[in-house]
């Protein structure tokens, strides 16, 4: 015990002596266990080498064990995919009524003549003589299809003429034609809105716009349907803490007349908000072109707003102009940019030339006969008055909109139940009263949450008796089908 203690004491003393010696010695010498070693730098060098060696070693990782071929085979054998489509239910087998004549204001279904309220030819230009003539001429000259995209000999002179005509009619500098109404919006939006941009959009917009928003990958904020206060508060929030206005583009997207509800967007208030918060406006005028305004120039004329204030205006031509396709119009910079970056324009075949020449003729007729618009407005007013006191259904669309949207006053509680009731009303109307109306149907990929209803598209070609008959029949049908409501 004693010897150990004394040995320990001597060792401690030795170590402390060594320590003081090591610190005091100015030259490269160290004393380790009583043995002077020349070059303690050598020791330090060795230490450094050891440190570097340890640093260069990889940290501990558990060994990777990739799946063997046998395991992958087993997994592949076990995997069972879902069926491509879910099983078909009864309501999926719905077949729409088949027309046997043109879809004008009077059509023939199953041999019977019906009054047609499902076709959006607001000005009654469907089947107009002048349009038929220009189509026939174009068919004989150009054939049916254009056989190529616009960049590769698919640009026919009627396309360029049509674009110039639309621009002249609306008072903008240029316009661009698309070959399909639905693709107009979902090609225009991704061309201008990129990742990181802010888009404020109404929650009731149609699927084309929703798809365009999804493809653009921008930040999307919805505001309550046609509610300007909600819009203002969202704009306030969006600009409040955002200082990167230099690089960030901001858009408001609205429809002039909403397909899903028949409301009209208050453009004058939107323009005021836009100028206050520095946003750009994209307006979809599919259902208002040729309808609103004293000469049919759309929502801007209706509210007396100069068209330069709206940055981009798009429209589908399958409504008032009674042809197919769509167009977009705005300043030259906007249009030129789309000619190379809009995917639905560059990568798709161009509009068949006979439809473009029909569009030119339709605009000519519209400009020459502004009485069509007054007739349409009168028809809308008549129908509104006639349908104002239906049992069980109420009108939720704007009094001046060409789409009259009827919704159930009291819902059954489920969308399916609502739809079934509305379908029953429409069936009854068609079979018993020969009035053809449409219920609004929704796809599973559509995000719009507005309730369903019955839509009537009013045309300038409907006569007073047609409208009277429709009001009568609707009153009787709702009284019958909604008896318990």
């Amino acid at each position: 015990m004693d010897t150990m203690f004394s040995a320990f004491e001597t060792m401690a003393k030795f170590v402390s002596d060594w320590g003081t010696l090591a610190f005091d010695t100015p030259y490269a010498r160290a004393v380790v266990f009583g043995v002077p070693i020349r070059g303690h730098l050598l020791v330090e060098g060795l230490l450094l080498v050891v440190i570097l060696f340890l640093l260069s070693q990889k940290s501990y990782k558990p060994p990777k064990r990739p799946l063997t071929k046998k395991e992958v085979d087993e997994l592949c054998d076990e995997w069972v995919p879902e069926p491509l489509i879910p099983s078909i239910t009864e309501d999926m087998k719905y077949e729409p009524p088949v027309l046997e004549s043109a879809a004008g204001p009077h059509a023939v279904i199953n041999g019977k003549e019906v009054v047609n309220f499902t076709s959006a030819n607001y000005l009654g230009l469907l089947g107009h003589d002048k349009l038929q003539d220009s189509c026939i001429k174009a068919l004989e000259k150009y054939g049916v299809g254009s056989c190529g995209p616009r960049g590769f000999y698919g640009t026919i002179d009627v396309h360029l003429d049509c674009e110039a005509r639309i621009a002249k009619f609306l008072g903008t500098s240029d316009s661009i034609l698309y070959s399909y109404g639905l693709s107009t919006m979902f090609s225009t939006i991704p061309a201008f809105c990129k990742k990181g941009d802010v888009i404020v959009v109404d929650e009731g917009v149609h699927w084309g716009i929703q798809n365009g928003l999804h493809l653009s990958r921008s930040t999307i904020i919805y505001f309550k349907h046609n509610d300007m206060k909600s819009l203002e508060s969202i704009l306030e929030n969006a600009t409040h803490d955002n200082k990167r206005a230099k690089k960030l583009r901001r858009y408001i997207i609205v429809e002039a007349v909403y397909q899903n509800s028949g409301q009209i967007a208050p453009l004058d208030e939107i323009i005021k908000l836009k100028e206050k918060y520095r946003f750009r406006v994209i307006l979809d005028e599919s259902n208002s072109f040729g309808v609103l305004g004293s000469s049919g120039r759309g929502l801007t004329e209706h509210f007396n707003v100069p068209i330069e204030k709206v940055d981009i205006v798009t429209a589908a031509m399958g409504h008032a102009l009674a042809t197919e396709g769509g167009f977009c119009t705005g300043s030259s910079r906007v249009i030129d940019h789309q000619r190379l970056s809009s995917s639905g324009y560059v990568f798709s075949a161009s509009l068949p030339p006979y439809l473009a020449s029909a569009a030119i003729t339709a605009i000519d007729v519209l400009e020459g006969h502004p009485d069509l618009i007054t007739k349409l407005k009168a028809n809308i007013a008549t129908l509104h008055k006639g349908l104002s006191d239906l049992q069980g259904l109420e009108i939720v669309s704007h009094p001046e909109s060409p789409i009259v949207f009827l919704r159930l006053k009291r819902s059954t509680g489920s969308t399916k139940g609502d739809l079934q009731l509305l379908e029953d009303i429409a069936d009854h109307l068609l079979k018993e009263h020969s009035i053809f109306v449409a219920t609004s149907k929704r796809s599973t990929v559509d995000k719009c949450k507005l309730p369903a209803g019955i839509r009537l598209f009013i045309s300038a070609a409907h006569t007073e008796s047609d409208l009277g008959k429709a009001c009568e029949s609707l009153k009787r049908a709702t009284a019958l089908v909604l008896a318990g409501q």
């Binding site: 879902e82 349009l131 056989c147 230099k246 960030l248 583009r249």
Partner: protein, 489 residues
């Protein structure tokens, strides 16, 4: 596969580098000038940021006259190209009243239905008078006429499937169908060179997208095995379903898809297969029924067949063909069916009439003649071009043949020189093709006669010599003089 010669790659990079440098220089000066001028959009971010449209402003505008050329007649074998002039170095082009009659090697007119046809046009005009130019209504509301129902049956019979549904635009068909069939939790495996409409539809669906090497079934198998074993990203749950998307003929390469191998792989791993026959329906196959006919694949093995009517039928629109349940489900759910105006009745009639002609149901043998002629024309043209020393892509029997140009300066040179000699060709550059691989694409039609093709070969050969695109050595002239009697310089 394309093998680019080393020297050509170097010179192409150098050319692009030079163009890029000059473009940046001009942008720099433009920025200085703009600093002085007044901008009315204060406080708004510019609608196109600096570098996004750099390619358009500095490279594309220089050769803008090679694209978007307007025509003023039907896009038949010979057509009228409108001349355009520019007063400000190609920034804006104005139409003149002069037209040139040119040979059309650019339009998709495989069977010659583009111009007024003796069988089709009278019927089209009749249906126009009966149903007018548009129905102004969606298919589910009031846009279904007897014509539409007949058309869908006709298309289903032609393609070889139980049922079909028709839309008004081929691009929208792809964009609107894929989101309905697959969603989050599904996997889409698509060929690396698929068309933009498929890419858009796949993105719009929300499913995960993986790409396999162009037309390489072994790589497809590798990707499938990996993905099934791994499962969904991060959670590793098994995939809900897998759809493999391929095209019949790839429009920029002219190659046929290796369908039998791909179908057998998909069957083995239980993936669904989606075939886009935009360019091949009506143009290949013994009776014109597309790649399945040509390669001997049973149509029941392919789950979803899609195609367009713009190319071989001279009309517009697209279709999806599949089992009855699939079509019922799509008609209930597809947004293009529920929200878009139905296909224009005259266009529908054109499709039906052209299908009748192809199948010989109009009482003549014009259909069979057209199919035989397009096959002969394509093979003749391709072999002649290859003999001359051009680098031509594509398989035999395919009516699309791209000629490689590579260098950016050769693109406008080839296009303008051909136009001067009254041959209209299509040149394609970035971004439709990879940066280095610019090409001129020829589309052969059944309406081209042998004289048309010989003239085209002459012109292309002369221009090819001038521009320097004969990358391969030409075959000896003696064989050609003996065989075809073509004059060479």
């Amino acid at each position: 596969m394309i093998t680019i010669p080393y020297l050509t790659a170097l010179t192409t990079y150098f050319s692009y580098g030079l163009l890029f440098a000059f473009g940046q220089l001009r942008d720099f000066f433009r920025k200085i000038f703009d600093w002085w001028s007044h901008n009315s959009l204060e406080g708004y971010a510019p609608i196109c940021l600096g570098l996004e449209d750099f390619y358009i402003r500095r490279l594309y505008l220089r050769i803008q006259d090679c694209f978007n050329r307007p025509i003023c007649s039907s896009p038949d074998a010979w057509f009228d190209v409108v001349e355009r002039i520019s007063n400000d170095y190609n920034k804006t082009l104005k139409r003149t009243t002069r037209v040139d009659r040119c040979l059309n090697l650019g339009s998709y007119n495989y069977l010659g239905f583009a111009a007024a046809d003796e069988y089709c046009t009278p019927r089209v005009i009749e249906s126009l008078k009966k149903f007018s130019a548009s129905t102004c209504s969606t298919r589910v509301d009031g846009g279904t006429t007897t014509l539409h129902a007949e058309l869908e049956e006709c298309v289903a019979n032609f393609v070889g499937k139980p049922a079909a549904v028709v839309f008004g635009m081929g691009y929208a068909t792809n964009s609107a169908i894929l989101p309905v069939l697959i969603g989050k939790g599904g996997l889409i495996i698509s060929d690396s060179l698929n068309h933009n409409s498929i890419v858009n539809g796949a993105r719009g669906s929300g499913a995960t997208i993986r790409v396999f090497q162009h037309n390489t079934p072994s790589h497809l198998e590798k990707v499938l095995r990996e993905q099934i074993a791994e499962g969904q990203p991060r959670t590793h749950r098994p995939w809900k379903k897998i759809i493999v998307v391929v095209e019949g003929i790839y429009s920029m390469e002219g190659e046929l898809c290796q369908l039998p191998e791909i179908v057998s792989i998909c069957k083995k791993y239980r993936a669904y297969i989606y075939l886009d026959e935009a360019h091949s329906i009506g143009a290949v196959g013994k009776s014109g029924r597309g790649v399945c006919d040509l390669l001997g694949v049973d149509t029941a093995d392919i789950d979803i067949m899609m195609g367009t009517f713009t190319k071989s039928f001279g009309s517009c629109g697209g279709y999806i063909a599949g089992s009855k349940e699939l079509i019922e489900y799509l008609k209930h759910n597809c947004p293009a069916h529920l929200y878009a105006t139905s296909i224009s009745p005259p266009a529908a009639q054109q499709i039906m009439s052209s299908i009748k002609v192809i199948l010989g149901e109009d009482g003549s043998s014009r259909g069979a003649q057209k199919l035989a002629r397009i096959r002969e024309n394509s093979n003749f043209f391709r072999s002649e071009l290859q003999k001359m020393g051009f680098e031509v892509l594509g398989d035999n029997d395919s009516p699309v043949m791209p000629i490689m140009l590579y260098n950016p300066a050769k693109i406008p040179a080839f296009s303008r020189e051909c136009l001067k000699r009254n041959v209209a060709v299509v040149t394609v550059a970035f971004p439709a093709t990879p940066l280095l691989l610019a090409r001129a694409r020829i589309c052969i039609s059944a309406a081209h006669t042998r004289e048309d093709l010989t003239k085209a070969l002459e012109v292309i050969s002369r221009v090819g010599d001038m521009v320097g695109v004969k990358y391969f050595p030409a075959e000896p002239k003696k064989q050609q003089l003996e065989g075809e009697g073509i004059k060479m310089d």
